[in-house]
């Protein structure tokens, strides 16, 4: 047992000695496994089970113990579905749209750090990159809506674009407070700044920015909810009005790619929120570059991601759908002014204190 424990951190340390290409292949393999797994975990724990309990029912119980294999069974079923392109659709764009959503999800995972060395690529402009790449999925959704040559799909795609226009701004502005405090755009730098910070001169647990950026955290949560087109911001897919919106003409795994993209992105956005506001992979009491954190960091991150996801899905199951005018009103008349005020106040405190 002790031998296993002492050899495990060095196994992660060995990764740093490999060449770039060897490292990239290993990391690509890990991410290619993590994304479907993340979608399955969030889908099972929250979408199937938590939603059922919120609505006073049991949810799937037959496939595997307590329905754990339900989503795998669904995946196998989708794999065997006939592939249908509507005759009037723009075939190339129609086929490219789900892939675009998947690309956006993969690119988000590149920047997410889960340990001192456990990051795919430690980008200098990490936060900026994440925010830029996350909007790519909306391009995919717009492509899907347009290429389907279907009125429901077109309306869904346009609604998604309108929602992005309103909620991209609060998302970006909410992050600025964190950047002012950390003084860097690098996600590892933000984790280190929180690990080395002190709360009123007491530095035992570091300084997670949620204590000073609580308004930013709330705005960030609301905005990612909208970016993910989850209820109460699910106007683009509203199944009772436009029967799934941009997804209406998709069958089989092409449809499932949107689902994987949505839940994979929910997972990574919860991860970004934990890095920005909850202290990331840092465990109090450890040296910030200790090899142990490469091992403990992913576990801590998983716990934080599940906690943030719980909040996201709690909103999802509790609130009814917004109307389009209420949606725009919330963004432009509440979130953006509050986020701007947050930036000014954070700036004043940063310079004055």
């Amino acid at each position: 047992m002790i031998a296993v424990l002492s050899s495990a951190p060095s196994a992660v340390g060995v990764l740093a000695d490999l060449s770039y290409w060897q490292q990239t292949v290993i990391k690509a393999g890990v991410v290619a496994v993590v994304i479907p797994t993340a979608a399955l975990i969030l889908g099972y724990v929250f979408l199937l089970k938590m939603m059922s309990f919120v609505q006073s029912r049991l949810g799937p119980m037959e496939a595997g113990p307590h329905g754990t294999l339900q989503l795998l069974a669904d995946g196998l079923k989708f794999l065997q579905k006939e592939d249908i392109f509507p005759e009037k659709s723009d075939r190339f764009v129609f086929a490219a749209a789900p892939v675009m959503v998947l690309v956006s999800t993969f690119l988000l995972y590149v920047a997410l750090p889960v340990g001192p060395d456990a990051v795919v690529s430690d980008l200098d402009a990490g936060v900026f990159y994440v925010l830029a790449v996350s909007s790519l999925s909306v391009v995919g959704i717009l492509m899907a809506g347009w290429a389907s040559a279907n009125k429901y799909a077109l309306i869904g795609g346009l609604r998604a674009a309108g929602q992005l226009i309103a909620y991209e701004l609060p998302l970006v502005l909410a992050v600025v407070g964190v950047i002012i405090q950390a003084g860097t755009l690098n996600l590892q730098g933000i984790v280190l700044a929180q690990a080395n910070g002190e709360i009123f001169g007491w530095g035992a647990i570091g300084f997670p920015y949620i204590f000073t950026q609580f308004a930013g955290f709330l705005i960030f949560l609301i905005a990612i909810q909208a970016e993910l087109t989850q209820p109460p911001f699910d106007m683009p897919v509203a199944e009772s009005e436009i029967v799934g919106g941009y997804q209406v003409e998709y069958t089989g795994f092409r449809f499932l790619f949107f689902f994987m993209g949505e839940f994979g992105t929910a997972f990574v956005f919860a991860g970004i929120a934990s890095v920005l506001f909850l202290g990331g992979w840092y465990v109090p009491g450890f040296d910030v570059d200790s090899n142990w954190l490469n091992l403990l960091g992913p576990i801590v991150m998983l716990v934080k991601i599940m906690a943030v996801s719980f909040l996201v899905f709690w909103f999802r199951f509790t609130y009814p759908r917004f109307r389009e005018d209420q949606l725009q009103k919330l963004a432009w008349k509440v979130l953006i002014p509050v986020a701007l005020a947050n930036i000014v106040i954070t700036g004043i405190l940063k310079v004055a204190v």
Binding site: E82, K88, Y129, A149, I179, G183, I336
Partner: protein
């Protein structure tokens, strides 16, 4: 290759990985799935009724002004990001500068609000 370029090479490779994964899964599906073409399957879905007119109908998207505001704000945010990183170095001077900048930005938002273009019509 410099570390900077290399970190973005990884980004490009991961984009390729996503495409590869999609192609592999759809390729596997191609082996498993049936293909039984019937004319009705390829008609656009409109809740079971035969589609009326073209799928690409003209419609009023209603958020033209919002889109213009979005572009304006999005560009301002790029400046705010650059300022936020260096605030410690700029100190009081930077703070006043940005206060004026955000004040003008808010003035624009208030003007739009007062002109009732933030109302969904």
């Amino acid at each position: 290759m410099s570390d900077f370029l290399r970190s973005y090479l990884t980004v490009g490779l991961f984009g390729g990985l996503a495409v590869l994964m999609a192609v592999l899964i759809l390729g596997l599906g191609k082996v498993l799935r049936p293909t039984r073409a019937q004319r009705q399957k390829y008609i656009s879905y409109e809740s079971g009724v035969d589609p009326v007119g073209d799928g690409w109908e003209q419609s009023n998207i209603r958020y033209y002004i919002f889109a213009l505001l979005f572009v304006m704000f999005d560009i301002e945010i790029v400046f705010i990001f650059a300022w936020a990183i260096r605030l410690e170095a700029f100190g009081f001077f930077g703070l006043v500068e940005m206060a004026i900048f955000i004040f003008i930005l808010l003035l624009g938002l208030l003007y739009a609000w007062r002109k009732r273009v933030l109302r969904w019509v």
